[in-house]
């Protein structure tokens, strides 16, 4: 079994054996279903040992200013298309990557709509949707109920434009706060608590349990005096209590399971731009050690132009007004993003995962909720897609208008189905994405 993970030998199972903990950990599937997939949460224990059939993974990477369309979208469609400037670095991976054009969510609002990237729904419209603005990753994470320590990981920067990461949203319309630096991510994934810390966190879980009992009683007596709509509102509170109770149970179980050893030293933070490759490496490690199977990553406000020696702001360059110098600066920053993404794909491809590579079992989406930042439009979003056992290699151009138009959510529905969910609708989908095999 170790041969499946050649670089970072100890899988958790191996680890458990080595530390004398048997695999007879309690099955927690009955607790599954609604876990509030936050970074602070811990998911559930593995229900079953990893076999030859490897689990599916999902990684979604987005930026908040999109890509300059003329240097991103290929002019030819089909296979062997000529790569435009910004995409040049995917050359060695071209047969394993799909580039889509003509896909979007049909929303407007410029910066205010980019939060819809992974949901198809703007935060402002969430109330009217059956699943709110629930994002792709969180939809998948809801079903993780037992398999990994972290049902999902949200990464991204927390400053600058928009005031923070806007990638990942739960069913209740709350944003998943991101992990912003490699160091924080490393600690979360790989640094285990000491015995004293475990004892004190167990005690805190007990206290939380007692408090939840008490406040549930308060909620029940409050409910008796409420009208219908207030009762509905208070139901949110009851649901929250149940969610936290489940979470406490899962954390209790995980508290004694050591974290995997990544065979690397705790990194220092060097700034978002310089840390970009490291963040990708840690995502790859998180997938490889099965710490999580789902990750999102937003290249956001901390992606600063001055790290490129450019005089000006990223946001300002994106409003280039067709000035050639601004476009050149923009393209420089965008090329770097694609280069690092390509490096990440290469890493996944070279990592063995059961009978194939980690890339074979990981769906990787890369793009933006912004179509053209100069005009602040959210149509024709830039999308690159790789891995996951889909067939790749083409630039697929979908019609932006008319009967053949397909919402981007159709791709997301295809991804969720491939992830193993029995769903036939996600966000604004009208079906699965045609032409994807």
């Amino acid at each position: 079994m170790n041969s499946e993970l050649p670089t970072f030998a100890p899988s958790r199972r191996h680890f458990l054996r080595a530390t004398g903990i048997t695999l007879a950990l309690p099955l927690l599937e009955s607790l599954g279903g609604r876990v509030f997939a936050q970074n602070s949460a811990v998911g559930a224990l593995p229900g079953k040992a990893a076999g030859t059939s490897r689990p599916k993974r999902m990684v979604c990477v987005g930026n908040m200013l999109g890509f300059h369309p003329p240097t991103f979208f290929p002019t030819q469609t089909g296979r062997n298309y000529e790569l435009p400037t910004v995409l040049e670095s995917i050359k060695p991976l071209q047969p394993e990557v799909s580039v889509f054009s003509g896909l979007d969510h049909g929303v407007k609002g410029g910066h205010f709509a980019i939060s819809s990237f992974l949901s198809g729904v703007r935060t402002a419209d969430a109330k009217g949707m059956p699943e709110g603005n629930l994002t792709l990753d969180q939809r998948a994470a809801e079903t993780m109920g037992g398999a990994t320590r972290f049902p999902s990981l949200a990464l991204g920067s927390e400053s600058g434009l928009h005031g923070g990461c806007l990638m990942s949203w739960t069913r209740s319309g709350t944003r998943v706060p991101p992990i912003s630096t490699p160091r924080e991510l490393f600690r979360k994934l790989f640094v285990s608590d000491g015995a004293a810390q475990i004892a004190s966190s167990t005690d805190r879980l007990n206290l939380k349990g007692s408090i939840l009992d008490a406040v549930q009683g308060d909620a029940k007596s409050l409910e008796r005096h409420l009208g219908r709509r207030d009762k509905e509102k208070l139901e949110e509170y009851f649901t929250s209590v149940r969610d936290v109770e489940k979470q406490i149970e899962l954390r209790r179980q995980w508290a004694h399971v050591p974290k995997p050893d990544p065979k690397m030293k705790e990194p220092n933070n060097k700034g978002f731009v310089s840390d970009l490759p490291l963040m990708y490496d840690l995502i790859a490690l998180a997938l490889q050690t099965d710490s999580t199977r789902i990750a999102t990553f937003e290249i956001g406000g901390d992606f600063e132009a001055n790290a490129f020696g450019l005089n000006g702001g990223y946001h300002a360059f994106s409003h280039h007004g067709q000035r050639p110098d601004a476009i050149a600066a923009l393209v420089k920053m965008e090329r770097y993003q694609v280069e690092q993404f390509a490096r990440f794909l290469t890493k996944l491809r070279s990592t063995e995962d059961g009978p194939g590579s980690l890339l074979d079992h990981s769906m990787v989406l890369f793009g933006s909720g912004m179509g053209n930042a100069n005009s602040h439009t959210n149509g024709n979003l830039p999308i690159i897609f790789a891995g996951g056992g889909f067939k790749h290699g083409e630039h697929k151009a979908y019609p932006e208008k008319g009967l053949g138009r397909q919402p981007l959510c159709n791709l997301y529905l295809s991804m969720l189905q491939r992830f193993g969910l029995e769903v036939n609708k996600f966000g604004t989908s009208t079906g699965t994405l045609s032409g994807l095999t």
């Binding site: 008490a214 709509r229 053209n372």
Partner: protein, 831 residues
């Protein structure tokens, strides 16, 4: 021509005088619509997505009422019917409007009960902070237990709407965590630690970048070289290298500094620093937390705790008395310092070529590296900066301990079961803002009991019970208790005294009711209108109502979003170095505060000849010198020389929040005015409109780009209302500075409204807006009611809005009077 003011007044009088039970004559409405409106809003065309031939009267649903309200607004605006179409006479309009108002009233009565009530609402984040601070007497300036809370949901920027604010498992978990932090902090403050003192002199090690020049200067002082908001953070935060661990416990500390202002007058080009050398250098003190990040970088929570102006000359001792949380260390800042020290070094060395090393280039481009530049500038140069030669810290000061409610309640004897019960009961009364029930106290006792059984001390048990109280829905949600409705059952249920006390204090203080409010609630006095009005005045007179001033402005004018699309640093450097963002907010808040205090007419929001500014704002606004440089950072009331700046539309806060930090859009600003000033939001744009793709290479101005709106009648029907308002504001750049051209293209800010009224610039537009002050009054009333009740004000509630607005002339349109009218309205005192 503006057709409405008189008419509007007449309509409102009719409303006030006519009993709502009179049946509206729907035939009048239908006739009017088919004569003047259906041609464009009927079976053939549905301009603006509106169709009136199928309007069902009497109104059976809220949508119909919304349509009626819309028609009323359009007539008042004078925008509809369009100028070129057949016009109704004034008399016809009056008859029509009377009927519409009757129908609105009747519809509201019929539809009441199916909506329009405030939904059980939880505290939002800022209310939570104020509430726990109040309950435990904590100083919250640099203590934020809510940093991991999810962002509060808001709608139209209102962050306190009951049905919009959500509770999730994640949030509840954060409530549990925050309760822990709060209670532990409150109890830690109970201990009475000994006063300590520290003395620092020499061995001041700066951040790494500055270490070489400071080594040459023997690390003899802390040097502060730039303002706080710079691109590179080089010498902007002076910290005590031997005191990074900070103070051991919360408390007031006396901090004595031997400070010296250096080189206020310097030999360099003033542009290098962007400062005004007439101003005395200002020394500020902010807290720093080494665990939160490097002490030489800005930190998320760094309130200015003290500020002094330094005279030139020899070092002078200054004594500052500040609150510091445990683990926080004082950091010294230079608020009117250079815009960027790092970027200045290379320019300063040009003045000191004699100090260059022999091998450095003497001509042309400076061949020195940043390290050399820095050393020469700092060691040899005459850059303006502040030196701190010695620091003495003493504290926590024993006499300064604030009287803590926790202290009052939890003596050492409080731990026997009966005493503990009393403690918990009295705490729960305050935390739940009403008398706690026996069951509730039982449950808190059970938590304490379980913890004691598990081996914790009684004090730990008590603390854990308090944490439970802070996680209870009785604490987290505002009470909506009502008294049993009387009479015919059609009247709105009224809030109980305690629920009303909470509604009032969260409206005006964003905090729980104080002892006086709770006493009046318990006695039932509070529900009397005259008592309620007196309490409103009392709360407004308290500085705690700053929470209302900022909370309401943030919601109404979207000022919470200020800075969420940060202005470009290169083009708008002064936004950062001059602290314009906080100054903008202060300006708008002082203006609003002043209207409340003077009970001055609300039309001042639309146009007036005064404002509240400091010197950086005066310079930014092109208003010149305000006099005495030593007072440069004091805000004061000034009279403006012309009509550009008076009122909201001349304020930097509004002008910046309606731009994206890079460029302005007349469409965005026009929509803002329609939505938030006139209260007549345009419908959302139809699908499939191509967006504007800015191209600044050619001479195409924004006006030319937007002129496409004129080419299509579909676009034009809405944009004729939107675009002129925005064009009038084009003289203001993305951070509210005055401009007369974009590069070489001159700005044309003239426009014509659909009513036919023309203006040549912002001053002219403001004159027109003042004529529409009744629309503004409706909008402001609607926003105040929304914020006050914590719910949307729907078409069903328009009658209440109308009534408040109708009474305004009798109250001289006073701002405070309007707030009082809101508080005594049936919406506020009812469910």
């Amino acid at each position: 021509m503006l057709r409405s003011p008189l008419l509007l007044a007449a309509g409102l009088l009719a409303l006030a005088a006519t009993p709502v039970s009179a049946a509206p004559n729907n035939a009048v409405v239908k006739n009017f619509l088919s004569t003047y409106c259906v041609e464009c809003h009927g079976p053939e065309k549905q301009k603006g997505d509106r169709r009136f031939d199928e309007l069902l009267l009497p109104a059976a649903n809220e949508d119909t009422l919304i349509d009626l309200k819309d028609m009323m607004d359009q007539l008042h605006l004078g925008d509809m019917p369009p100028e070129k179409a057949k016009q109704p006479s004034l008399a016809e309009q009056k008859v029509f409007l009377d009927q519409v108002i009757l129908e609105l009233a009747r519809g509201r009565e019929n539809l009441a009960g199916t909506g329009g009530n405030t939904v059980l609402r939880r505290l939002n984040r800022r209310e939570y902070l104020n509430t726990v601070g109040d309950l435990f007497g904590l100083n919250m300036a640099a203590f934020d237990p809510t940093t991991n809370f999810p962002r509060d949901q808001s709608e139209e920027h209102m962050d306190n709407l009951g049905d919009v604010l959500q509770t999730s498992g994640y949030l509840l978990d954060q409530y549990l965590e925050a309760a822990d932090l709060v209670v532990e902090k409150a109890f830690a403050a109970q201990k009475k630690p000994e006063e300590q003192s520290w003395h620092f002199r020499g061995n001041f090690k700066p951040q790494q970048e500055m270490s070489r020049p400071h080594t040459r200067l023997k690390n003899a002082f802390i040097g502060i070289y730039e303002c706080m908001d710079t691109p590179n953070h080089e010498g902007g935060f002076g910290f005590i290298s031997d005191f990074q661990q900070g103070v051991p416990v919360d408390g007031f500390y006396e901090i004595r500094v031997l400070a010296q202002a250096m080189n206020r007058v310097h030999p360099y080009d003033p542009k290098i620093f962007g400062t005004d050398s007439r101003e005395p250098l200002r020394l500020g003190l902010v807290p720093g937390d080494a665990k939160a990040g490097p002490l030489y970088h800005p930190q998320p929570l760094q309130p200015m705790l003290a500020e002094v102006a330094l005279a030139d000359g020899d070092p002078v001792w200054h004594t500052l008395r500040v609150w510091l949380d445990a683990g926080h260390t004082p950091r010294f800042v230079f608020p009117n310092g250079s815009k960027s020290a790092r970027n200045s070094w290379v320019k300063i060395v040009e003045y000191h070529k004699d100090k260059w090393p022999a091998d450095a280039k003497r001509e042309g481009k400076n061949g020195l590296g940043i390290v050399e530049n820095r050393i020469i500038s700092v060691v040899e140069g005459k850059v303006p900066h502040i030196r701190i030669h010695e620091v003495k810290i003493r504290g926590p000061l024993a006499e300064s301990k604030p009287p803590s409610p926790v202290q009052a309640v939890y003596g050492e004897t409080a731990l026997a079961p009966e005493a503990m019960r009393q403690v918990l009961h009295s705490f729960a009364d305050r935390a739940y803002r009403r008398p706690a029930t026996k069951d509730e106290v039982d449950r808190l006792m059970r938590v304490a009991g379980q913890r004691i059984t598990a081996g914790r001390s009684p004090q730990e048990g008590l603390k854990d019970a308090l944490k439970a109280a802070l996680s209870s829905p009785s604490f987290l949600y505002l009470s909506q208790d009502t008294v049993a409705p009387q009479g015919d059952g059609k009247t709105r249920p009224r809030l109980t005294g305690h629920a009303l006390a909470s509604r009032l204090s969260y409206f005006l203080w964003s905090a729980p009711p104080d002892a006086e409010l709770l006493r009046l609630a318990a006695s039932g006095e509070l529900t009397k209108p005259e008592v309620l009005t007196a309490q409103t005045r009392r709360l407004l007179a308290s500085p705690r109502s700053d929470a209302f001033v900022s909370g309401f402005l943030d919601s109404w004018l979207h000022l919470r979003s200020l800075g969420s699309t940060p202005p470009d640093r290169r083009d708008f450097e002064r936004y950062y170095s001059k602290g314009l963002e906080p100054a903008f907010k202060t300006e708008t808040r002082l203006f609003f505060r002043d209207l409340i205090e003077r009970d001055a007419p609300i039309r001042n929001f639309l146009d007036c000849d005064y404002g509240f500014i400091d010197q950086p704002l005066a310079s930014h606004y092109g208003l010149g010198d305000l006099g005495d440089p030593a007072r440069a950072h004091e805000f004061r009331k000034v009279s403006f020389p012309d009509s550009r700046r008076g009122g909201l539309l001349g304020m930097g806060a509004v002008l910046t929040v309606t731009a994206n930090g890079i460029e302005t859009s007349p469409v965005v600003r026009g929509v803002f005015v329609l939505e938030n000033i006139l209260g007549t939001p345009p419908p959302p744009p139809p699908d499939d409109v191509p967006a504007i793709d800015p191209d600044v290479r050619g001479a195409k101005s924004i006006r030319e780009l937007v002129s496409k709106h004129r080419e299509s009648p579909n676009c034009y029907s809405c944009h004729q209302k939107i675009d002129p308002l925005g064009f009038a504001l084009e003289n203001f750049d993305p951070i509210g500075g005055w401009r007369t051209s974009y590069g070489k293209t001159p700005i044309d800010s003239a426009g014509e409204l659909p009513s036919g009224e023309k203006f040549s610039d912002i001053a002219g537009l403001k004159k027109i807006l003042v004529k529409r002050q009744d629309l503004f009054a409706h909008m402001l009333t609607d926003r105040l009611l929304t914020y006050a009740c914590g719910r949307r004000i729907g078409a069903l509630d328009q009658v209440v809005v109308e009534k408040i607005v109708a009474d305004l002339p009798g109250r001289q349109h006073g701002m405070r009077s309007l707030i009082e009218a809101v508080v005594t309205s049936e919406l506020f005192v009812g469910l």
